[in-house]
């Protein structure tokens, strides 16, 4: 490649004084239209351009630029890009045409990724607030002071009073590390953005299919014949996914977009459905009503693979066409047409985003959508699927790695068994970890979700189920304006003892409060300044290469975690098996550590070596099937989880979940047998449906050692695998067993067995239990129904409170070594045998149970039915409930919300809010959404000059009819006011994009608060280029009944001319 000169090592300066948020035009693109005639910036080629590649005088022989491949740090599509680095400076970016995900393409954000890593508005050095002034401090001083403050909170109030708010921007390694960090600090008050973007998806879908994730891939959408898009606007939120959607459309797929707003995606739809905010369940049941009425459902599929559909049939009867039209505002003919399109064009994909999830009945909405796909037989099919587009670049990975207040990594939950499992992986004494917590109850109880952390500060202590309110808050890569109820959040910030922001930018957190002390800002690098893996929406794991060293005085997240852990006194435990090089934890070691523990979701096969091989061979993958050739023969791109077993097993990853057309070893799967084997006398296992090549040709429960034993397959375990299984049962697992030789394993196994052998003579005195007798019969009949009375070894948790009791584990006495052939004098202790039999595919650290199951063509997680009745949720079958702040008071009585409740350590309001009628003062609906140039709270993207220029003005979209009524014309400022008493001053964008009575605002702005500009509160040199009112200043109360997802898409408002 030709390069003309060496790079400068100086960071570019933008000398022009930039217009901050005062563009006079108010149409989104006005400045674009004007730019040809009214260019405003300073010296064209004399300024910034010069600095980019101005010659470095000291350069002798110009070195060719190095190329580093990284993954775009914005959305969950996961686009690769090439970074050109010269003399340690990132000088340019080139398309990665070979990436099967983006094939070289980007949206505005990806196109400006370089600026994120070199941007001059970043936070440059550790800073603290002293008497209202920002003061630069050294890293040592900052860590020392923060540590002392947190330790004193711990001392006085307990570990639960510090909240560790992590980030979906973390690499998988950092997400895992952060979760472990909080665990060793001794709290479950840890969370990240998934709570407020797709938590209802994860819990809803996991409770139906088994896993809470996108089932197919962006690439597989090419095969869809219809695309049913609800509450999503990929043209702005996931622009590169449109590469795949439009390809499907040009292949003949029909595109349906359902949204209160005629989005940029809707413009490409064959059918645009304008829905009243919050009425998605009614709409979907209306669609299903037509499907069932016409017999369009896939009855064979439902019979073999789905549980509880009759209850759905009954519920759907309550949503005939006229009722649906009344609730949703959608014409009955259109609902019927939608039903016809998706029925006649199968396989079809159903895509949803935050329009569905962010609701107080979000879990019901995601389940209704998942139910439609089951009815049509679209799940587990090429071209089908519930394709949930996740938000941030690694929100899928951070969720998978347990950066949540209700689970340990890989959805193991918080039970004692889950803790014991992770303590084995961490090589830490369970009792020591328990001692870090205030109590075992708190250790096993859900923490407080990010959506309500400030309620954890503000609620009176007696209202909170933990010893004391939150007093220390760490925002580690999280914006405050992505959470609703900002006025309450501000009070929370003001009430804290200590507020720490760890971020490449000061973020709105640094300026939103009225504090004068006790605030620390630590400059973190972007994720492009360190390496690690990242999981995109389609569960594909990609390895990011570090592009450049941290700029300014920033440090990467791993190093900051290390510094803090050292100060807080648990670095040795946190990094017990993680190497530290030059003061920085080694990313690959962290990957290998979670590879060893994440059996539930198959993050075990994705070793750093395999991931790097995929990145180096991106061009070897087909762009539709994502299957590789050559060095990655037969593997799916990014080893989409589950990639079962240990890495050396070479599982190719699972491109399409629940696809029975492939053997499990090649990426096939049935539905997961997650809820036991029967419910109220009905079979929960699949009937006559199984993956290709399965030796068990009907449903079967989850694999346990007992099941292997019954099938006689336990003989196929290697000595190492047997040793690890026995050691776990005997609670004698040691870390060196992971890679022990076969010979040594045999010795150790004998040792363990000797220690648990029953003293001779004891045998006769121990009466055999019922299950023991059954075991003695050594029945290998696997259809026999296992006793559900025994609870599982560890209760995996899928996003929130999940299934109660999985059943499915057999118990009882048996001999170790197979087949019940050992004689009585070799009998092992009953307790040990019980525990041995319960070691299962999730807790077996050897991977042996998974390996053997897969060798026989079986799925480790069993072969169950998807369930359409989630009996452990408040609404087992989804029902429509009006938003808490609804404009339709006439519907409240019939579609009332829940009674007030308690959960996640906090009280939560429903009926006490809904019962009040606010429609007199606030007659309009308010909804929110995204813009393509910005992401999340926008602190990063509004500080990126290439992006900021394209969106300089916060606005509210108002229908022309409403604008006339309010006497407002396009571009004028208005106040948007909401029932909880707050208001924002924004520009009116008068457009038919929203229907009459609906107001839309984007949520990426911040830095102006209820009319007051906060620019002077930022540390010098860090003010984002664009400031604006945060939409969430006026968003209102409302939380999903299962996950505490915030309600941000349906509330009430009024507009007034400003």
């Amino acid at each position: 490649m030709l390069r003309k000169k060496s790079a400068t090592t100086s960071v570019r300066r933008l000398s022009a004084s930039l217009p901050l948020g005062q563009a006079d035009g108010l149409d989104r693109r006005t400045f674009l239209r004007n730019s040809g005639v009214s260019a405003v910036a300073a010296g064209l080629m004399s300024g910034p351009l010069v600095t980019r590649r101005a010659s470095a005088q000291n350069a002798q022989a110009p070195e060719p630029p190095q190329l580093k491949k990284t993954v775009c740090p914005y959305c969950a599509v996961g686009c690769s890009l090439w970074a050109e680095v010269e003399n340690g400076v990132w000088i340019g970016q080139e398309p990665a045409f070979e990436s099967p995900v983006n094939m070289g393409t980007h949206c505005a954000k990806g196109a400006a990724a370089r600026e994120q890593a070199i941007g001059e508005r970043r936070l440059k050095y550790p800073t603290k607030l002293v008497g209202g002034q920002w003061v630069r401090v050294s890293w040592e001083e900052a860590i020392e002071e923060i540590g002392d403050r947190l330790l004193s909170i711990r001392e006085e109030m307990g570990p639960e009073s510090v909240y560790w708010l992590g980030s979906a921007k973390f690499s998988n390694e950092m997400a895992y590390l952060c979760r472990k960090f909080a665990a060793l600090w001794g709290t479950n008050n840890v969370d990240h953005q998934a709570r407020i973007c797709h938590s209802t998806t994860v819990s809803g879908v996991a409770n139906m299919y088994g896993y809470g994730a996108m089932t197919n891939s962006f690439n597989d959408i090419h095969n869809a014949k219809s695309i049913f898009l609800l509450g999503g606007n990929p043209a702005e939120a996931h622009p590169v996914s449109m590469l795949h959607l439009l390809r499907a459309k040009e292949n003949g797929a029909k595109l349906i977009v359902v949204d209160p707003r005629f989005t940029r995606t809707a413009r490409h739809a064959h059918e645009y459905v304008r829905i009243r905010p919050g009425t998605d369940v009614a709409f979907m049941w209306g669609v299903l009503h037509h499907i069932l009425e016409n017999g369009w459902e896939d009855q064979e599929y439902l019979g073999r693979r789905v549980f509880g559909f009759d209850e759905v049939r009954r519920e759907v009867q309550n949503y005939p066409p006229d009722v649906v039209e009344e609730i949703t505002g959608i014409a009955a003919e259109q609902v019927e047409r939608v039903a016809r399109i998706i029925s006649e064009n199968r396989p079809g994909t159903l895509i949803w985003c935050m329009g569905l999830t962010q609701s107080h009945i979000g879990n019901s909405k995601t389940r209704a959508a998942s139910t439609i796909q089951l009815a049509l037989g679209n799940i587990g099919k090429v071209g089908g699927g519930a394709n949930i587009f996740r938000g941030h670049d690694n929100v899928q990975g951070a969720t998978d790695l347990g950066l949540m207040c209700h689970s340990l990594p890989a959805y193991y939950g918080l039970t004692e068994d889950a803790w014991r499992h992770w303590c084995r992986v961490w090589d830490l004494d369970y009792e020591w970890v328990k001692g870090r917590f205030a109590s075992q109850d708190l250790m096993e109880g859900q923490g407080m979700p990010v959506s309500r952390w400030f309620d954890g500060v503000l609620e009176p202590a007696e209202n909170i189920d933990q010893p004391n309110p939150v007093r220390g808050m760490i925002f580690w890569g999280h914006a405050p304006n992505s959470q609703t109820r900002n006025p309450d959040l501000v009070k929370g910030l003001n009430t804290l003892d200590t507020l720490v922001v760890i971020d490449p930018h000061p973020t709105l957190t640094a300026v939103l409060h009225d504090r004068t002390d006790g605030v620390y800002l630590l400059p973190a690098t972007t994720t492009m300044e360190y390496s690690g893996s990242v999981t995109n929406s389609q569960r594909a794991v990609q390895w990011r290469e570090k592009v450049v060293d941290p700029i300014f005085d920033a440090k990467n997240d791993y190093e900051i975690a290390y510094l803090l852990a050292r100060k807080l006194g648990f670095a040795d435990e946190l990094f017990k098996h993680i190497g530290i090089e030059d003061g920085e934890p080694v990313a690959e070691d962290i990957t290998r550590e979670f590879n060893r523990g994440t059996w539930t979701i198959g993050y075990t096969g994705q070793s750093p070596e395999r991931l790097k091989r995929h990145m180096a061979n991106q061009d070897k993958f087909d762009t539709t099937t994502i299957r590789g050739v050559g060095p990655v023969e037969g593997e799916f791109y990014g080893l989409p989880w589950p990639s079962w077993g240990r890495p050396e097993m070479g599982h190719p990853g699972t491109h399409i979940l629940y696809n029975t057309d492939l053997p499990v070893a090649e990426g096939g799967l049935p539905f997961r047998a997650r809820w036991g084997v029967e419910h109220e006398g009905q079979n929960l296992l699949a009937e006559g449906s199984y993956t290709r090549g399965s030796e068990l040709t009907d449903g079967y429960p989850e694999f346990t050692y007992a099941m292997l034993y019954k099938l006689g397959w336990n003989r196929e375990l290697t000595e190492r695998e047997q040793l690890i299984i026995a050691a776990i049962a005997a609670e004698r697992f040691e870390h060196d067993m992971f890679d022990i030789s076969e010979v040594a394993a045999k010795e150790r196994l004998d040792e363990i067995l000797a220690s648990v052998r029953r003293p001779s003579g004891d045998v006769e005195q121990v009466p055999r239990s019922r299950s023991g007798q059954r075991k003695a019969a050594a029945a290998t009949e696997i259809y026999e129904r296992f006793d559900p009375e025994e609870s599982g070894e560890d209760e995996e948790d899928s996003g929130s409170r999940d299934q109660q009791g999985s059943g499915g584990q057999d118990t009882g006495t048996a001999d170790f070594g197979g087949g019940g052939e050992r004689s009585a004098e070799n009998e092992l202790e009953g307790d040990f045998v019980d525990r041995l039999m319960k070691v299962n595919w999730k807790t077996d650290l050897s991977g042996g149970i998974q390996r053997v199951a897969i060798a026989h063509g079986c799925a480790p997680f069993g072969n169950g039915k998807a369930r359409t009745v989630v009996w452990n949720f408040p609404d087992p079958v989804p029902v429509h409930r009006e938003p808490l702040y609804t404009p339709r008071r006439d519907l409240v009585e019939r579609y009332r919300t829940y009674d007030d409740r308690r959960d996640y350590r906090l009280p939560v309001l429903y009926w006490s809010i809904q019962q009040v009628d606010y429609t007199g003062e606030f007659p309009m609906s308010l909804t929110s959404g995204r813009l393509v140039e910005f992401e999340g709270g926008g602190d990063e993207t509004r500080s990126n000059k290439w992006l900021a220029e394209f969106q300089q003005q916060m606005f509210a979209e108002v229908n022309p009819q409403d604008a006339v009524a309010a006497g407002v014309s396009n571009g004028e400022f208005i106040w948007v006011l909401t029932p909880e008493g707050s208001r924002v001053r924004v520009a009116a964008l008068v457009t038919p994009r929203v229907g009459p009575g609906t107001v839309f605002m984007p949520f990426h702005f911040g830095g102006v608060y209820q009319g007051k500009n906060l620019a002077d509160r930022y540390p010098p040199g860090t003010v984002p280029y664009v400031l604006g009112e945060a939409c969430n200043t006026v968003s209102t109360y409302g939380y999903d009944v299962v996950t505490f997802m915030q309600e941000s898409k349906a509330t009430l408002c009024r507009i007034e001319k400003a």
Binding site: R3, K4, K5, R12, A16, L18, P19, D27, R28, R29, L32, S35, G36, V37, A39, V40, A41, A42, G43, L44, M45, G47, P48, L49, T51, R53, S55, Q93, P95, G104, T105, H106, C107, A108, A111, A112, R114, E115, A235, E236, P239, M242, L243, L246, E250, F262, R264, T265, R267, H268, H270, E271, Y272, R337, V932, L947, E949, F950, P992, R993
Partner: protein
């Protein structure tokens, strides 16, 4: 000899602004200047269409015809470039251009508006290819590096095509044939259910 062309497929453009942004990032185009922009017509209306616009490197470029100092010229592959050392910033080219391509660094009238700047098809200017002088005045010369304009290379939906006009036309032709309906480039009838599916 190939003739270089841009074509924006309005049935695919989603107004993601990748083209405009990457252009600024690549050539360090200052705030307020846009060599490429996305224009949306009928914003928020069912007939909404977006299209990316820049210098179209016209075959018979009006800017060349009107430039009083003849600083604008066309390369043998049809790329329209100009010489900033000769440019007097008069703005005639701006008035002549049907696409609003010429940009000026200062928002004042006559003389003081500065040298014209516009899309170079990522082909630099009259200076030696990949020389520092060329880079400082016109940005990067990707054509000389054997690459295509970056805006088209990164277009999220492959709406924006750039390159040899014959090949661009073939790609586009194939799409229109595949879509199988009359209005092709604009496809006015497709936003709502009806003609396409209701037959």
């Amino acid at each position: 000899m190939a003739r270089m062309k841009f074509l924006c497929d309005a049935e695919r453009c989603i107004e993601c602004n990748a083209c405009s942004t990457v252009c600024k990032n690549e050539h360090q185009v200052p705030w307020g200047m846009l060599r490429r922009r996305v224009v949306t017509l009928n914003d928020g209306d069912p007939e909404e269409r977006s299209i990316a616009i820049s210098c179209m490197h016209c075959t018979d470029a009006p800017c060349i015809a009107v430039c009083p100092v003849s600083c604008i010229y066309q390369t043998d592959t049809g790329i329209v470039l100009h010489d900033k050392d000769l440019c007097i910033g008069c703005g005639y080219c701006f008035y002549a251009c049907p696409f609003g391509a010429p940009q000026f660094p200062k928002a004042t009238n006559f003389g003081s508006r500065g040298d014209m700047d516009k899309c170079t098809f990522c082909a630099g200017g009259p200076e030696a290819d990949n020389s520092e002088e060329e880079y400082l005045k016109y940005g990067r010369n990707r054509i000389a590096e054997g690459k295509l304009p970056l805006c088209a290379e990164v277009c999220s939906t492959r709406a924006l095509l750039a390159g040899d006009g014959a090949i661009v036309a073939d790609i586009y032709k194939e799409r229109v044939v595949k879509r199988g309906y009359g209005s092709g480039a604009w496809g006015w009838s497709t936003a709502y259910y009806g003609p396409l599916m209701g037959e």
